[in-house]
């Protein structure tokens, strides 16, 4: 008798548990307001991107086309993947001294893992992370960028 009772109890338990699960999916079916999907390209304007989001490394320039990078290559040494290459040139200052200056700040976006160690290490705070995230291109060569703008120079120290 007990086994028959157990048999029907199992059937009842099975059906009730299945019904509970169906009620949950059914609940969400009739509550379309709870849908979480974001329609990406359409919602580009309202997309929330936190300001700390690490998209790519940029070298900010001010209105005089001046940046803060001295070409010390500390970022290059700190980069674990070798995605940064600093090319320097030596120029002669008006006083006649030879001085190293940034020539090209080469950034391989394709190698970058966005660990942020270059920004962390930079003694001048010359570079920072940008929020842009739409990086896809059709040619790998386009992923290698030169960050300093043509004709830019080091911001002269305030006197």
């Amino acid at each position: 008798m007990n086994s028959i009772y157990q048999y029907f109890r199992a059937i009842w338990y099975g059906f009730s548990s299945l019904w509970k699960g169906m009620m949950l999916t059914g609940h969400y079916l009739v509550h379309p307001k709870k849908i979480l999907t974001q329609q990406y390209p359409e919602n580009r304007d309202t997309l929330y991107i936190p300001e700390r989001f690490q998209g790519e490394v940029v070298l900010p320039h001010d209105e005089n086309n001046e940046h803060l990078c001295t070409g010390c290559t500390i970022c290059e040494m700190n980069c674990p993947n070798g995605s940064i290459k600093i090319i320097t040139r030596s120029v002669e200052t008006p006083e006649g001294k030879k001085k190293k200056e940034l020539d090209e700040w080469v950034y391989h976006l394709g190698l970058c893992t966005f660990c942020g160690q270059c920004i962390d290490a930079c003694p001048q705070n010359a570079i920072k992370m940008d929020n842009s995230f739409e990086h896809s291109v059709y040619d790998r060569k386009l992923l290698t960028k030169v960050l300093n703008q043509p004709g830019s120079k080091l911001k002269s120290a305030k006197k």
């Binding site: 299945l18 999916t25 059914g26 969400y28 979480l36 999907t37």
Partner: protein, 361 residues
């Protein structure tokens, strides 16, 4: 006045026009082709609609939107999928049994279309009102397992073979209680013909009139038809997390689309059978004695009633699929042999008793 009658008149008009133009034998042939094409087109269109509806429903159940890109609200998504599958190459594995590999999708599709023959869509809209309609459907639908076994065997893929073997064991065993569930209603109606069963429900659907035994039979039938369709939670034959795609792992392009189409056609047929047998087919909602209500219900055309009921059962099946986890093969067979079959057998006895005594509601 009623759409079901007007549809009947249209078919009669076509029949008399064809007979007046052509030789009666030729006219009969043309009628057969026309009717077949009409039903197949209807079902294919329904299947495409169903694919879209299922994806949307699944999306809403899972806090998603479902397809949204092709057409307004993604309405053309299923059409786009069909186009893509049509244009894709049908690959045949090198070491497969090539003839069987190519025949298998046709077997499955043809079988699923054959089961459409005795279904009554509305009053008079029926391809062939044979007097063994229910028997015909159960007999023919079990043929689809042959196509699945052929596909699994000929692919020369161990995953496919495992899937096909699972499917074979599953369909063969679940047919038993599925058949027993239908027998309950057959006994009460006293006929195997589909139109006869529908007529027997003129003063109340069996699920209401036949109370407990028919409700049990209905639940059993829904479970077994989900199992026979190889749909979740009984989708062991294709269990994508275990066997990648089961018996149709090696199929691509249109051959795959035919398996897909046959799955949806089978879904339709079994829902239509359930709607006909348990929920009164195209018969409007009637309660014996309440003539006012019955008369009012008759204003809604039979075809609306029929597809309404069909879609209700389809919705149930879709709902199951997106809620439940999958059973294991031994549990699946245990469910059939230890729960469904004993319950169905006792239920048949109970129903026979009720039918003999005439204890209907």
């Amino acid at each position: 006045m009623q759409l079901s009658i007007s549809l009947l008149e249209i078919t009669r008009a076509i029949d008399s026009w064809l007979n007046s133009v052509f030789h009666p034998h030729l006219a009969y042939g043309i009628e057969l082709v026309l009717a077949g094409v009409a039903v197949i087109l209807l079902v294919v269109a329904m299947a495409i609609l169903m694919v879209y509806a299922e994806r949307k429903l699944a999306g809403f159940m899972q806090l998603r939107l479902g397809p949204m890109r092709v057409g307004k609200w993604g309405t053309m998504q299923a059409v786009a999928d069909v186009m893509k599958l049509l244009l894709k190459e049908c690959l045949t594995p090198t070491n497969s049994d090539k003839l069987m590999f190519r025949v298998a999708p046709f077997v499955v599709t043809i079988v699923s279309f054959m089961t459409l023959v005795p279904i009554a869509f509305a009053k008079g809209i029926q391809l062939w009102d044979i007097n063994i309609g229910v028997f015909y459907i159960t007999a023919v639908s079990s043929l689809s397992v042959i196509g699945i076994l052929m596909a699994g065997w000929s692919s020369n893929n161990k995953y496919s073979l495992l899937g096909a073997m699972r499917s074979g064991a599953q369909i063969v065993s679940y047919e038993l209680s599925g058949g027993l569930a239908l027998i309950v209603v057959v006994m009460m109606s006293g006929t195997l013909s589909i139109s006869g069963i529908v007529q027997a429900q003129a003063d109340g659907w069996w699920i209401i009139k036949g109370h407990i035994p028919v409700i049990i039979a209905f639940v059993t039938f829904v479970i077994t038809s989900t199992a026979e369709l190889n749909r979740a939670p009984f989708d062991l034959a294709e269990a994508e997390s275990e066997l990648t795609a089961g018996y149709h792992t090696e199929y691509s392009g249109m051959q795959f689309a035919m398996f897909f189409l046959s799955e949806y056609t089978n879904m339709f047929v079994l829902s239509m059978v359930a709607a006909t047998v348990f929920l009164g087919g195209w018969m409007p909602f009637h309660i014996a004695g309440l003539d006012g209500l019955n008369h009012f219900m008759d204003y809604i055309p039979g075809i609306v009633w029929f597809f309404g009921k069909t879609f209700f059962i389809l919705f149930l099946i879709v709902w199951f699929r997106w809620t439940f986890p999958r059973l294991r093969i031994d549990q699946l067979l245990k469910l059939e042999w230890k729960y469904l079959l004993p319950v169905s057998i006792i239920n048949v006895l109970f129903a026979a008793f009720i039918a003999l005594m005439g204890w209907y509601l």
